[in-house]
């Protein structure tokens, strides 16, 4: 499974970081999403899926099996 983020549409809510800190971080200057892992780290799959679902800007996409 591959994670992609769209920093252009990100609204810096940081919900993904709180849910899945293994996969996401926030830019110090403007709070936009920083992708830490191209694939969900082991054990964090569910949290990453939650992050995709709850992202207020729909800026996180999961693709592949």
């Amino acid at each position: 499974m591959k994670i992609t983020v769209d920093t252009g549409s990100c609204v810096s809510s940081g919900q993904c970081v709180l849910l899945a800190p293994e996969a996401f971080d926030q830019n110090e200057d403007d709070g936009t999403v920083v992708l830490l892992a191209e694939e969900p780290p082991a054990g964090a799959e569910e949290a990453v899926r939650q992050a995709e679902l709850t992202c207020p800007a729909a800026a996180i996409r999961l693709s592949g099996a």
Binding site: S13, Q15, V17, L18, Q26, D30, T32, P56, A57
Partner: protein
């Protein structure tokens, strides 16, 4: 032909603090978007379905400003969420600037760093709760006085750089600006609140600190279009939103957990393991304002088959959306095992609550600490005796008397 059906007027009546008004469900069954009258008596659209709420939250053709503010529907006679806000021509730019300015201070990494401090402040509040009980053994203690109000205030004061010693002053102002039929008194309180923030900003300008008001002052130095008035209004808004809303959630969350002993015991048996999902369920179910969040259509828009005209007021009821049975099975049931639980308590889209991470961090700290220390906590009065604040923008309850 005359119609015998009257347009429903907000706020609707609810049975108790944990319920929402049944009218929302009745309206949602008829249509996702309904015609209502605001508490001020003006026409507005009320969004009650989850999908339509999400759509409006994410649609950039809705904003907080109005193309002709003097013609806009008024929502209430409070001094916030009462009508149009901001400049129609520059709203998007102003909003982006605000988020960019505030995002770092409210970011998840900063919240993680703040976590230990929040834990320390929570312990202090719980000590005070115990001390109040010890001072009058056998008498109930009001959880709002010792935890639900002071904790969020302590936290937001540190983050914004507002002196905690001033809390009674701005508590009074916060209450007055949010009274729905406050009228002139609400406006006078807002003017006083803004004067207070202006004075504080002046102090930060002379002596900057690592806090949000200092950040705002720094942004203002580079951007003259961000006026003193903008800064004062935003500062007052942050101080208000930073404590009223979280305060309400702590009080209501405790009520949800105490209203069913089995539910309380289940949480108290494994607070750390259950806290995240329990907090999400508290957020989903807590009904706050009686109006929902306000937007105005900036163009003619069609939402779920309803044509909304430019300038129309739209109230998005997250309370109703979060109990939409087409998305949440047994929507009125408290179920911390619910997954996914993608509620709209913080809104969504470009305007999603900037303090969501702060609120979550506070709530995830407070409930485990409260129930580890007082696993036998119980309500000292029946649920129906807890007065609901129907006349306030942020809703909430008057008190939560507890004993143990």
């Amino acid at each position: 032909m005359t119609t015998t059906e009257e347009t429903p007027r907000l706020p609707f009546t609810r049975a108790n603090a944990l319920a929402i008004a049944p009218d929302y469900d009745v309206l949602r069954r008829q249509a996702p978007v309904s015609r209502v009258l605001t508490p001020a008596g003006d026409p507005a659209w009320l969004v009650t379905s989850y999908e339509a709420a999400k759509e409006v939250f994410r649609d950039r053709r809705f904003g907080r400003s109005h193309p002709a503010p003097e013609q806009a529907s008024r929502i209430s006679h409070a001094a916030l969420q009462n009508g149009p806000n901001g400049d129609f021509d520059t709203e998007e730019r102003d909003h982006k600037r605000m988020r960019r300015m505030l995002a770092p201070a409210f970011s998840a990494p900063r919240m993680r760093a703040l976590g230990d401090r929040i834990a320390e402040l929570t312990d202090r509040c719980l000590d005070d709760l115990q001390a109040a009980r010890d001072a009058h053994p056998g008498e109930p203690v009001d959880l709002t006085d010792f935890l639900a109000f002071p904790l969020p205030v302590l936290v937001i004061c540190e983050l914004l750089g507002v002196p905690y010693a001033d809390r009674e002053h701005f508590r009074g102002l916060s209450e007055r600006i949010a009274v729905m039929n406050g009228g002139e008194d609400a406006q006078a309180a807002m003017a006083e609140f803004m004067a207070y923030m202006t004075k504080l900003a002046d102090a930060k300008r002379a002596d900057p600190q690592p806090d949000v008001i200092s950040d705002m002052v720094a942004v203002q130095a580079d951007d003259p279009t961000f006026t003193d008035d903008d800064l004062a209004r935003m500062g007052a808004g942050l101080l208000f939103a930073g404590h009223e809303t979280t305060s309400t959630r702590i009080a209501m969350g405790t009520l949800f957990l105490l209203s069913d002993t089995a539910r309380r015991d289940r949480f108290a048996a494994d607070p750390d393991g259950q806290v995240n999902q329990t907090v999400e369920e508290i957020l989903r179910l807590t009904a706050t304002s009686g109006t929902g969040l306000l937007r105005y259509a900036h163009e003619d828009v069609e939402i779920a088959g309803t044509r909304i005209m430019r300038g129309d007021a739209v109230l998005i009821s997250s309370d109703a959306a979060n109990r939409d049975a087409s998305v949440f099975a047994d929507p009125d049931g408290f179920d911390p095992d619910r997954t996914p639980n993608v509620h709209l308590a913080f809104g969504t889209g470009a305007h999603v609550c900037i303090g969501a991470n702060l609120a979550r961090t506070e709530l995830r700290t407070v409930f485990p600490k409260l129930f580890r220390r007082f696993p036998g906590l119980r309500l000292a009065v029946g649920l129906d005796e807890i007065p609901v604040r129907t006349n306030r923008v942020a809703g909430g309850v008057e008190r939560v008397p507890v004993e143990w």
